[in-house]
């Protein structure tokens, strides 16, 4: 019964100084709306980076030989037997979540033409699978991507083409150490030239058909990496865990999530995320100060009123509770308005993406992957729940001090206080 009275008093008090309450509510709501917007944008950007990164790299989940991540050497490869075991395991436990997969046989080597020689990263790929898996075909500038049935074709970056003075149709030589330990050469012809915008990729990555690579390097049926693309990046951790359990008796097979196989991308996202958290923390601190300020002004101006409540029989704790509830009401109302406004604004104006091409034209490299200049904001239930939790926490913390002060006031002095 008494709680009902306190709730009524608190609600009425929030509505009493409508201008102050409205201004505070608007400040909180705007801050939260901005928080929701920027968080959605960041989530969308991370999705884009992860998607781009895993497609260019080793997928959401990669299966490799245990030492391969550290060495990148051909000798640390999956042999045909392991490829089959791993493929079956993936088929057994990840079939429902699998979007695409691709085998790759990679080796460091040298690309030479009459114009010179350049160190390169050669990837033997299955053209049909790679076309679905990776977005590299979309970066085509000239010629075409590899096709099934190609044998001595290569897909190279623009910068490599420039350095070796190559054009579509020109031939050049790849040299690398084979599985037998000999340095062996392979003549290939330029089928297409791509440009990702990532200098490191454009000057060193070469795709050739995996069968050609296997034959050239004497590694029949082998692969350096089996890369798997899931239909949701959020399934990575559980997918990795399940596969690890499935393959726990296979010492020559290691299952990696994209954070492990693409550590630069993971680190870049972590770094950016940290920056975002700092920005959001500042924003939340400003919101907390707005609440605290509004509550303190309200409390300091109503000392006599609180003194009267005490004189009429409310306890110190109950008087403090009135103030605390006022803070919570103000925060709750503003919080709901802010989160709703943030969601509606983001969805209403930017559901098709926010175009940053004025700042980054074709895109920008981020952690070794290329970020599309059009970022589509992403909402998640988790994000909304976290925002709600955070604002409730802030409201609670910001209201505690004014409530505590109110509960500690000297009643006799408060009653004398001139309002």
């Amino acid at each position: 019964m008494r709680l009902t009275v306190l709730l009524k008093l608190a609600m009425r008090s929030v509505g009493r100084n409508t201008r102050r309450s409205a201004l505070t509510a608007v400040a909180i709501a705007l801050g939260l709306a901005l928080l929701v917007f920027s968080r959605s944008l960041a989530e969308g950007a991370y999705d884009e980076m992860i998607d781009s990164g895993v497609r260019m790299g080793s997928g959401h989940i990669a299966i490799q030989a245990p030492e391969y991540l550290a060495t990148g050497k051909l000798e640390h490869r999956l042999e045909g037997k392991e490829v089959r075991i791993a493929s079956k395991a993936v088929d057994d436990v990840l079939k429902e979540s699998l979007l695409a997969w691709a085998p790759r046989l990679s080796v460091n080597g040298l690309a030479s033409s009459t114009a010179g020689a350049v160190p390169v990263r050669i990837e033997g790929v299955d053209p049909e699978r790679e076309r679905i898996f990776s977005n590299i075909e979309g970066k085509l500038q000239e010629g075409r991507y590899l096709e099934a049935g190609d044998r001595l074709h290569a897909y190279i970056g623009t910068e490599l083409a420039q350095r070796l003075d190559l054009q579509v149709g020109n031939r050049f030589v790849l040299t690398a150490q084979s599985a037998l330990g000999d340095v062996e050469g392979q003549l290939v012809r330029v089928a297409g030239i791509f440009q990702t915008g990532i200098p490191q990729v454009d000057q060193s990555l070469i795709h050739i058909p995996i069968d050609t690579a296997r034959e050239w390097l004497h590694t029949p049926d082998a692969a350096s990496t089996l890369a798997f693309l899931l239909n949701q990046s959020g399934l990575t951790d559980i997918g990795v865990e399940t596969l690890q359990q499935e393959l726990e008796n296979e010492p020559k097979i290691r299952v990696l999530g994209w954070r492990e196989s693409s550590p630069e991308l993971a680190a870049a996202i972590r770094l950016d995320s940290t920056g975002n958290y700092i920005f959001h923390s500042i924003l939340l601190a400003i919101i907390a100060l707005a609440i605290l300020n509004a509550m303190m002004i309200s409390v300091l101006g109503r000392r006599r009123e609180f003194g009267v409540l005490r004189a009429m029989g409310l306890t110190a704790a109950e008087t403090g509770l009135v103030v605390f509830l006022e803070g919570l009401f103000l925060t709750a109302a503003s919080g709901v308005a802010g989160i709703t406004a943030g969601l509606l604004f983001t969805w209403g104006f930017f559901r098709d993406g926010l175009d940053f091409s004025i700042f980054m034209e074709e895109g920008v490299e981020f952690g070794g992957s290329l970020m599309d200049p059009v970022i589509i904001p992403r909402f998640s239930v988790e994000q909304i729940l976290i925002s709600t939790f955070v604002i409730v926490t802030i409201g609670t913390l910001s209201s505690l001090y004014p409530a505590l002060r109110t509960s500690k006031l000297d009643v006799a002095e408060a009653i004398k206080f001139e309002q």
Binding site: L9, E305, M312
Partner: protein, 236 residues
């Protein structure tokens, strides 16, 4: 024989202050019988308001004893004091001190609400009282829409509606004109007479002193005189 509503024995209130502590109340001993209509007079700073605050449990004495009825309040916890105020004491302040977010009716029924009295019973009591003290038709007005006299009547209604044993009124007429003061005193006399409510005022308003049954004069925190007046027309 009448019961004792209030009793104080050698009550002191000393405020620690540099360079010298302030002795607001110095060894006051007094007794107020139930149903009495008592004024405490004296110049500003004589300790009238402090005495009311001490008796109402709003501040604690530096030493001495205070009883409300048969209950010693000086050692009570804050929570017990709050409950005592709710059940046995009504306050009327100089500046009315109504809660601005509540209507006149809600202000008046607030104590009953805190006591858990049912809504119908609350409304019946308040409306009856409003009728008695001339506040009919003003029930839904917020304090800001009432005159000073009307606000003070609401404050009196709030103080007496729950039938407390004791009403402590601190300069209740200080902000009222003579007509409003006279009307308010009529109301309080009537309540004293009809309900036997004990009133203890602090005042320096001659009209209040004139209409009190007993006049205690405080000077420098001590009782200078304590006179019973004979012409009072209130409760016997």
């Amino acid at each position: 024989m009448r019961k004792t509503a209030v009793r104080t024995t050698d009550v002191w209130k000393i405020y620690p202050q540099e360079p010298d502590p302030v002795e607001a109340v110095r060894g006051v001993s007094l007794q107020v019988e139930t149903g009495d209509f008592v004024a405490m007079a004296g110049p500003s700073g004589s300790g009238k308001t402090t005495m009311l605050n001490l008796i109402g449990g709003l501040t604690r004495p530096s030493r001495g004893g205070i009883w409300i009825g048969d209950r010693e309040i000086t050692e009570m916890s804050d929570k017990a004091l709050a409950q005592l105020r709710l059940e046995r004491i009504g306050f009327v302040f100089q500046s009315y001190n109504l809660l601005p977010v509540l209507t006149a009716l809600e202000n008046a029924e607030f104590t009953l609400l805190l006591r858990g009295v049912a809504k119908d019973e609350r409304r019946r009591k308040v409306l009856e009282l409003f009728h008695k003290i001339g506040l009919e038709g003003l029930e839904e007005r917020k304090p800001g829409k009432l005159s000073g006299g009307q606000q003070q009547r609401v404050a009196v209604a709030r103080a007496v509606v729950a039938d407390p044993a004791l009403i402590l009124a601190d300069e209740p007429t200080a902000n009222l004109d003579s007509t409003a003061s006279s009307d308010l005193l009529d109301v309080m006399e009537q309540l004293n007479r009809d309900q036997g409510t004990t009133f203890l005022f602090s005042t320096h308003d001659p009209r209040v002193m004139e209409r009190s049954r007993r006049l205690i004069t405080l000077v420098d925190g001590q009782i200078e005189s304590d006179k019973r007046r004979n012409h009072f027309s209130g409760s016997p």
